[in-house]
Amino acid sequence: MDNVQVSNEQHLAMYEEMLLARRIDERMWLLNRAGSIPFVVSGQGQEVMQVAASFALDKEVDYILPYYRDLAVVLHFGMTTRDIFLMAYGKAEDPNSGGRQMPNHFGQKKNRIVTQSSPVTTQVPHAAGIALAAKMEGKSLVSFATMGEGSTNQGDFHEGLNFAGVHKLPAIFMVENNKYAISVPLSKQVACENIADRAIGYGMPGIKVDGNDPVAVYQAVKEARDRALNGDGPTLIEAESYRLTPHSSDDDDMTYRTKEEVDYEKSIDGLLQYRKKLMEEGILTEDKEREMEEKLKQEINEATDYAEKAASPDPKTLQDFVYSEEGF
């Protein structure tokens, strides 16, 4: 496939989605530090790959199995800013879990965002299962599962990819390699040069891309999706970037990495690079940016207000939905 064409409108739309994710994320930290919400886990530094990948999918039919850093992915697939803050506050209206799960355990059936748990990598066999079911029904769609690079060491990664490979399923597995698994650096997680090198063991293409390059990510996912729909089976994509925040609001990353390292990585943040490029190419202007920021800020303010005031789950609901209401 030739290099894909991304229009200026698409560039702007992608950038805006990245920015929204970033601004929401930043707000979360403020709320956490102010004691308003108990927990934050961030996608900062991974927005570029998340949005670019999302644009290459079809949000009307594809199933996504995101992991906890994939704020930008679920926003693209239809979760609203308000939904996200309802989740952060653990409110009854939170569409992910009604306040039952910790923040960023995404799930929303109407948008085909498949419910996630905390134990990492369990979603990988699920993605194979969804792709299998879609294939059985002759549907033209893919399942798209993401995970961190540390998580590729779980047995379920191996078993899920192998299953998808053997049955040539329409699935895409994207590893968001941000160089750390909490405190453990890549070099202590794996001995291979690239996570993408694991693909050959499952008989599927393994593609490594710069996660800060939106066009490269877009193209890799688009090609993977085409292959999947053509019946050519799954793809493993590794997108590289860096985790710009501590692992979560409970973490102190200065116990295992240096401020210099983090500062350097912040200076080459993919979002900033993209902004610079769009500015240089005149696709983004100062005016447009101001407008965008204002709009996002207002959206985030409104969502925060709404979520803060929204009702908490009623303790009387504690025992609801353990089993189907019809069953038993």
Binding site: K109, T115, T122, G129, D156, E159, N162, S324
Partner: protein, 327 residues
């Protein structure tokens, strides 16, 4: 009405459910051309084809996990674990995922998967082809565990499990496969999950048990009847969550309760049964609750003499009932 053995009833239920509902499909190791190592899926590959009777790679967490994914999508997967002992690599998928999907999504998603697995000893299977594994899972709300005791029950309960909107662990005693035979109706019928069944009425002693041990309890009860001892037998059918009402009723009826399991006793299902009785029927009891289970050994040995020593049988039950009756 045809006489079927226990495993034929499994095959029949699977076949009928697959004919009834296109969304039902089977996945597992050797379930395809081989028809399963016990032949539970015999003929299904031929009838329904490769797409609906899938031989999977040798990986139980994937069997469960792929099934869970398909179930979330809207299919009705029936996953086979070749031996119940080999379900352990899939525990995370079953507990963290299948059992919690409805609750964690606040009823947005669900996971109607059935996981079948042959359990139990008495076939020279040694430590890893003989285990009772139900107790490991019997503390996970969101999951149901069904353990049928006869071919008739197999057909009705397996159909109910496949149609259930929630994940069901369906445990089949591998020694029952060819040992137990009875008439099984041709018609479609289901047996409600979550309800125990009185398999024999009696007035002196109540035996509460499940799975193959129901058969042994019946044998013992028949023998004791000749001695004038009348035994009530309650078959739990669903071992999780338990049918408290039926347990309380059966225990109160005779006031003398024997609980039986093939599993090693400490931490087994019958501990919970005893707890329910001791909470609810204390003043109806005429004797201490008696539990009969295997000794506290990690798993069943291979050598015949050791295996026999460990196994439950009707003699052990008979003695225990008699002791209780005489108490």
């Amino acid at each position: 009405m045809a006489v079927l053995n226990y495993i034929q009833a499994i095959t029949k239920a699977l076949k009928e459910e697959m004919e009834r509902d296109e969304k039902v499909f089977i996945l597992g190791e050797d379930v395809g051309p081989r028809g399963g190592v016990f032949r539970a899926t015999d003929g299904l590959y031929e009838q329904f084809g490769e797409a609906r009777v899938l031989d999977t790679p040798l990986a139980e967490s994937a069997i469960a996990g792929v099934g869970i994914g398909a179930a979330m999508y809207g299919m009705k997967p029936v996953a086979e674990m070749q031996f119940a002992d080999f379900i352990l690599p899939a525990v995370n998928q079953i507990m963290s995922e299948a059992a919690r999907i409805r609750y964690r999504s606040n009823n947005d998603w669900d996971c109607p998967i059935t996981i079948r697995a042959p359990y139990g000893g008495g076939v020279h299977g040694g430590l890893y082809h003989s285990q009772s594994i139900e107790a490991i899972f019997a503390n996970q709300p969101g999951l149901k565990i069904v353990m049928p005791s006869s071919p008739y029950d197999v057909k009705g309960l397996l159909k109910a499990s496949i149609r259930d909107q929630d994940p069901v662990l369906f445990l089949e005693h591998k020694r029952a496969y060819r040992l137990l035979k009875e008439e099984v109706p041709e018609e479609d019928y289901t047996i409600p999950i979550g309800k125990a069944a009185v398999k024999r009425e009696g007035s002196d002693v109540t035996v509460i048990t499940y799975g193959l041990c129901v058969h042994f309890a019946k044998q013992a009860a028949e023998k004791l009847e000749q001695e004038g001892i009348s035994t009530e037998i309650l078959d739990l059918r669903t071992v999780y969550p338990l049918d408290q009402e039926a347990i309380i009723k059966a225990a109160s009826k005779t006031g003398k309760v024997l609980l039986v399991t093939e599993d090693n006793k400490e931490g087994s299902i019958i501990g919970e049964v005893a707890a329910i009785i001791s909470e609810h029927c204390l003043f109806d009891l005429d004797a201490p609750i008696k539990r009969l289970g295997a000794p506290e050994v990690p798993a069943m040995p291979f050598a015949s003499k050791l295996e026999k020593e460990m196994l439950m049988n009707s003699d052990k039950i008979e003695t225990a009932i008699r002791d209780l009756a005489e108490f």
